[in-house]
């Protein structure tokens, strides 16, 4: 008992740490001001690609005992330039921006927002920012990620009934207030992120549709609200979210924590569901684009042409809504809507002989103007692998603006195109970023620290085994991960066969949360905290039996198989920056007195492959024949054979026929004994 309690305690500790980081998946710890191109003024830019601004840990989880170590070390001097600690948490527009840039921005802003200035309201209460992030992958492919962020300093739940919407989409605002939603995360993904080839995505998502929602603690009937919400969202996004019901909804106990403000972490207000079979296509993209203030008329959104977006290897669009602090004091809340879209274009399938990428080639459009409603509109190109500008690829047009940021535990360098300034457009008044590979690319990315693989083993239609492999490729650090598996009820898990093995030895999970399934009501939910030893593969296996469904429960294509949704691995992953122990160049020695100065670990969520499992399936091609034949065989064959075997036969006296029966009737009437 004692050891069990200890385990729970350990879990709570670690879970808290993970939870703390969960609220900031892509932190940008400290912005770096750098001298670029001899310009005396450093240029600030917000280089985050994710949807959560940094420094959120202490705000989002009040009562948080331990502060992640990385939040301490801002404001160190750097040999290359000055480093300034900046609060990026709450209000981005009012951030201190270098003078020249600020003037530029203001100039543009004034120019475009001229009509607003005349309005009685002095400053609009909502802001819109857009950015495009481009990372050339060493496999020759290219990863582009759009992010559109709308912030609204209003309260949708309390106070006056909100009826005036400006930038924030009304459809979503109404949903939030009607269903008392505190946080909403929805993603539609077509394809699987190839972690080993492509590295880490800015924002990971499982194939298909994923939806998770935190409700306000004032909601009494969470299940009812959830059911209605999924139906409404299904209408808004033209997706089959109405297929979410109790058989695929779970309430994870530890894997999903609120990412915005709010101190309720009680799991009964959380609902999580994945539809692995959901196909994402144009009809999902169009409503998603309509949520943008400029739709696809101006700004970065002009690039979103579906005929090109779906000519890609990976497509993932998402909407995240959460409450954030209005300012650093955090007395009032704002609502933040992030719309993200990640696409990977495939070099081989694009059929190009010249290995080069351009905006036009990718999207069949170029950029000519920012969205007039946007307060920030930028394009970032990741040039980390190309520090001198000409080793791997050529980038044109060349701009002088560069910035550095730590993204997912790795220090990256970006070239920035600020669309609010006239500089990037050049004489042609259009920006077509061109990226030309110089040499045959090697195709080997740095192996990600954590990745997973999942498959079904065994053969035959009776039993099977779900195997999840967790790879920790960090050379010397072990770290814990939270693994969550949701398995539909028709795979009956034999939970006693659950085994976790690392390096050939048993690896006992310190925490296991298992909620068994109920037939036709709810799925299995298995969550556990596993410590991954350094440089190892951990194998989690559990056997299952395939259930025989009722004949109406089969899908129209039962021989295709049944999907099991991706398992979710949430972890605090040791940073790659901390991994190289001897790279001291460019940094003063005192910064490396302690081993991990920059940021020791970062939060990461990895999704495994969904599984396709065949269930025993009757032959549906001729049900009528089958039913008739079976009934006949049972009735005639079995029935009479059974009869023959169980009855005892006696030879009966031959009866006298009709006359005797008649005589007997008369005798009975007369009361005389029968013949």
């Amino acid at each position: 008992m004692a050891s069990h309690r200890l385990g729970v305690a350990v879990f709570v500790l670690v879970a808290t740490a993970i939870l703390a980081a969960a609220s900031e998946p892509n932190q940008i710890e400290s912005e770096q001001l750098q001298d670029v191109g001899g310009s005396p003024d450093a240029v600030f830019s917000d280089a985050e690609g994710g949807f959560k601004t940094g420094d959120g840990a202490s705000e989002t989880v009040p009562g948080q005992a331990e502060t992640p170590p990385h939040s301490i070390e801002t404001g160190q001097a750097d040999s290359a330039g000055r480093r300034v600690s900046i609060e990026v948490g709450s209000d981005r527009v009012e951030e201190p921006v270098a003078d020249e840039e600020l003037e530029n921005v203001q100039a543009e802003f004034d120019l475009q927002d001229a009509p607003q200035e005349s309005e009685p309201v002095p400053t609009p209460r909502d802001h819109f920012a857009e950015e495009l992030f481009i990372r050339p992958l060493l496999s020759g492919d290219i990863y582009t990620s759009f992010q559109f962020r709308t912030r609204w300093d209003t309260d949708l739940h309390w106070g006056e009934k909100v009826s005036h919407y400006r930038l924030f989409p009304k459809s979503l605002g109404q949903v939030i207030s009607k269903f008392s939603v505190r946080e909403l995360h929805i993603s539609f993904t077509q394809g699987f992120w190839r972690t080993v080839q492509w590295g880490q995505p800015l924002l990971s998502a499982p194939p298909g549709a994923e939806l998770w929602v935190w409700f306000q603690d004032s909601v009494a009937d969470v299940d009812g609200a959830w059911r209605e919400l999924t139906s409404v969202l299904s209408g808004i996004f033209c997706a089959s979210l109405n297929f979410i019901d109790s058989t695929n909804t779970v309430q994870p106990s530890a894997s999903f924590k609120p990412m915005g403000l709010g101190n309720v972490t009680e799991q009964r207000f959380l609902r999580y569901a994945v539809l692995p079979r959901e196909i994402v296509c144009t009809e999902n993209l169009t409503p998603w684009k309509k949520l943008l203030p400029c739709e696809s008329q101006a700004g970065l959104a002009v690039l979103l042409k579906s005929e090109k977006l779906f000519h890609s290897s990976y497509h993932s669009q998402a909407v995240h809504i959460r409450p954030v602090c209005k300012d650093s004091a955090c007395r009032e809340t704002s609502w933040e809507l992030s719309q993200t879209l990640g696409i990977v274009f495939d070099l081989h399938a694009s059929g190009q002989s010249k290995r080069e990428w351009s905006l036009f080639k990718m999207f069949s459009r170029t950029l000519t103007e920012p969205c007039p409603l946007a307060s920030s509109s930028k394009v970032y190109v990741d040039v980390t692998d190309n520090p001198l500008g000409d080793e791997l690829f050529d980038l044109s047009p060349a701009v002088s603006l560069q910035t550095q940021a730590v993204v997912l535990g790795d220090r990256r360098t970006f070239t920035v195109y600020d669309l609010l300034t006239p500089e990037p457009y050049g004489p042609t008044r259009s920006l077509n970023i061109l990226l030309k590979w110089r040499q045959q690319v090697s195709g080997d990315m740095q192996r990600p620290v954590l990745h997973t693989e999942r498959y079904v083993s065994g053969y035959g239609l009776q039993t099977g085994e779900i195997n999840t492999l967790l790879y920790n490729s960090h050379p010397f650090r072990a770290f814990p991960v939270l693994l969550m598996e949701t398995v539909p009820w028709y795979l009956r898990l034999y939970i006693h066969t659950l085994a976790v093995q690392s390096k050939g030895k048993e690896n006992k999970p310190s925490y296991i949360h298992y909620l068994p399934s109920k037939d036709r009501q709810r799925p299995h939910l298995l969550e556990m905290l596993v410590q991954l030893p350094p440089h190892s593969v951990t194998k989690v296996t559990v056997q299952f039996e395939r259930a025989l469904l009722k004949w109406t429960e089969y899908t129209p294509d039962p021989n295709h198989g049944f999907y099991v949704s991706s398992s979710v691995v949430s972890a605090m992953v040791p940073s790659v920056v901390a991994m190289d122990t001897n790279s001291t160049e460019g940094r003063p020695l005192f910064t490396t007195l302690f081993h991990s100065t920059e940021e020791s670990s970062y939060f990461m969520r990895v999704y495994s492959e969904p599984l396709l499992v065949n269930l025993p399936t009757p032959d549906f091609s001729m049900p009528y024949n089958v039913i008739c034949l079976t009934c006949t065989v049972v009735a005639v064959g079995y029935g009479s054979l059974y009869n023959l075997l169980t009855r005892t036969f006696q030879v009966e006296e031959p009866s006298g026929g009709l006359t005797k029966r008649l005589a007997n009737v008369i005798r009975r009437l007369r009361g005389v004994p029968l013949l």
Partner: protein, 616 residues
């Protein structure tokens, strides 16, 4: 059933069955065999048709034009193979990687139970290389496999070359909905088995293999390619897999459809189709094609790399390029187009193959015999056993009638003790166990005492045990005093008949060909043997002629006759010895069930009949 519950009618029926037993049995046998012969007659056969909607006609045009590139890959591969003296793993990895595939290797090692003298291997160590083409926007749940073996010498170089050319062409296409796995396997079937076991993370044959890194979900279908020349005259398709499993008929139809489309000449069992079904040569042609299929299926040996996929419910065929002396040749581009077409259709599959037949015989590529048509053959044969068993049952339950019939004049003894019946049965099965286990276990001892190799030792031990089993009846009777009564052998025969019926019935359900071969030989003799002093020799000889070993020998002879490559009796004997060793190896390497079935069940059952002949 009312017929049976009425005692009078029942009596009439039983008397009919007992009185007309022999003519009925003969009739059943004749009907059964002639039904089987009739299956190959074209008017009785069904024409093949595509059941799967996804395989229906499409408007796509095959655009593979890289035949030259395939040949240059072939040259390069052959050079690299010669240089490394085996599978050029590094070169393959590099080439596949540069084509944009995700490449993985899997190394394995296997020690055979005894040296394989045909393929000259004992301790096998090899590496499979496979590249995965990830479907754009595919969630890694489904895949298709194209495999080519890396064989000894110069065989199958073209297959690997074409595979690489196809891989690089497929990589640049956007329309793939399923991942495609390009597998080059070493040591033919052992490599395939190792790869499949690692992919499905099971271990059935004691293979040691490195853990597999990359997977691509559930494999929906697989094609195995064998090509050994730059040009081909025809394409042969091999269907029969492990334990006589067959791929779904739709896959075969798909192959035929694309052969028609690309104009490639296609054959099955190496035989072209003939149109003159109404002539005698035409009929014998389709009969021999069907018989070849029966023999191959009955052997339970996979006829190509595809054979091992079938166990995992992956529909697969092997396509074999044939280069004969015909004038008109097809180049690599055409073969590539054929494969491209098939893959694009497989890519369209929404569900696993399930619409069409899994149990069928093919007298030609356009005609097939479904399970509903061939099963009556076996039904008639099995009816003989049932009729004989009924007859015996009636005789046993009503001894007076048996006396009346004058079949026997033995004393009115009590029913035989269970012991006297169980002993021969148990002894026979113990012999079967010895036949199953001893050959492999005792090879060490055999090579110490006799000047033979391990393989010979195993085969000769097996034959020795087999023959030694013939001496059993004499010995069991010495053990059991007074067991040899009239009722005794009848009871034993009744049991044996029913046992044989059940055995053959189960076998036929799984592997019709094997069941049919055994039934058509064993059943008539088993039904009619009796322990008569006068005809003991005759019965003994007849029984030996239908023993499983003799059947195997005759099947080998027939097989060589059918492929028009006749062998002499001595060669046939050599082939027989090889077949025995290969059968045992198949069992240990791939889990083939033929050897255990014969050793543990059919042979003991046959021994029981042997016991009856020599009943005292």
């Amino acid at each position: 059933m009312g017929l049976l519950s009425d005692p009078n009618r029942r009596r009439a029926l039983t008397s009919l069955v007992t009185r007309l037993n022999t003519p009925l049995c003969v009739l059943c046998y004749l009907v059964g065999v002639s039904w089987f012969m009739g299956l190959a007659f074209e008017p009785f056969m069904l024409r093949t048709y595509m059941s799967e909607n996804a395989m229906g006609s499409t408007m796509v045009e095959e655009k593979f034009v890289f035949g030259e590139r395939a040949i240059s890959y072939t040259r390069e591969f052959a050079g690299q193979k010669k240089k490394t003296g085996g599978m050029p793993v590094d070169w393959l990895v590099k080439t596949m990687k540069s084509r944009g595939l995700e490449v993985y290797t899997q190394s394995f090692s296997q020690t055979l139970p005894f040296p394989d003298e045909v393929k000259e291997r004992y301790m096998v160590r090899g590496t499979n290389v496979y590249g995965i083409l990830r479907a754009p926007r595919g969630p890694r749940t489904e895949s298709i496999v194209l495999s080519a073996p890396c064989s000894e010498g110069n065989n199958n170089n073209q297959a690997v070359g074409l595979l690489l050319a196809i891989a690089s062409y497929f990589r640049s296409q956007i329309y793939w909905a399923k991942d495609i796995i390009f597998l080059v396997n070493e040591h033919d079937l052992i490599g395939t088995e190792a790869w499949l076991e690692a992919y499905h993370d099971v271990n059935m044959t004691g293979l040691r293999s490195s853990p597999m890194q990359g997977r691509a979900g559930a494999i929906q279908a697989a094609l195995s390619l064998e090509l050994s020349s730059d040009v081909i005259t025809s394409m042969d398709v091999a269907l029969e897999g492990l334990n006589g499993q067959l791929p779904n008929l739709d896959l075969v139809n798909l192959f035929y459809a694309f052969c028609q489309k690309t104009g490639v000449l296609c054959t099955i069992q190496g035989k072209l189709q003939r149109n003159d079904w109404d002539t005698l040569p035409g009929y014998t042609h389709s009969l021999s094609t069907m018989l070849l299929m029966v023999l191959k299926q009955g052997s339970g040996h996979p006829q190509g790399d595809h054979g091992l996929f079938l166990r995992y419910h992956i529909e697969a065929v092997t396509m074999r390029g044939i280069n004969s002396f015909r004038q008109y040749k097809f180049d690599m581009t055409t073969v590539g187009k054929l494969i491209e077409g098939m893959f694009r259709k497989l890519n369209n599959l929404l569900e696993r193959f399930h619409q069409s037949y899994f149990f069928y015989l093919m007298p030609s590529l356009t005609r097939f015999v479904s399970i509903g048509y061939y099963m009556p053959t076996f039904g008639f044969l099995a009816l003989i056993l049932v009729l004989r068993a009924l007859d015996l049952w009636v005789q046993l339950s009503d001894p007076a009638r048996a006396l009346e019939d004058g079949v026997s004049e033995g004393e009115q003894d009590s029913s035989p003790s269970l012991l006297s019946l169980a002993t021969p049965v148990i002894i026979c099965h113990l012999t079967g166990l010895a036949l199953y286990f001893l050959p492999v276990l005792s090879q060490e001892m055999a090579i110490q005492h006799f000047p033979v190799s391990e393989t010979e030792a195993v085969v000769l031990t097996a034959i020795a045990i087999y023959v030694a089993g013939l001496a059993l009846p004499h010995n069991t009777h010495r053990v059991l005093s007074g067991a040899g009564t009239e009722r005794g052998w009848r009871s034993l025969k009744l049991f044996s008949l029913l046992y044989l019926a059940v055995l053959l019935g189960c076998t036929t359900l799984i592997n019709f060909s094997l069941g049919f071969i055994l039934a058509v030989t064993m059943i008539p003799v088993a039904a009619f043997i009796q322990p008569h002093r006068s005809s003991k020799v005759l019965h003994g000889v007849a029984l030996i002629l239908v023993s499983p070993a003799t059947t195997l020998l005759l099947s080998i002879y027939l097989y060589h006759e059918l492929i028009e490559y006749p062998v002499s009796l001595l060669e046939c004997w050599q082939h027989f010895l090889t077949a025995v060793s290969q059968g045992i190896l198949d069992h240990h390497l791939y889990g083939s069930l033929l050897y255990p079935l014969l050793a543990l069940f059919i042979y003991p059952c046959w021994l029981q009949f042997w016991n009856i002949v020599f009943w005292k």
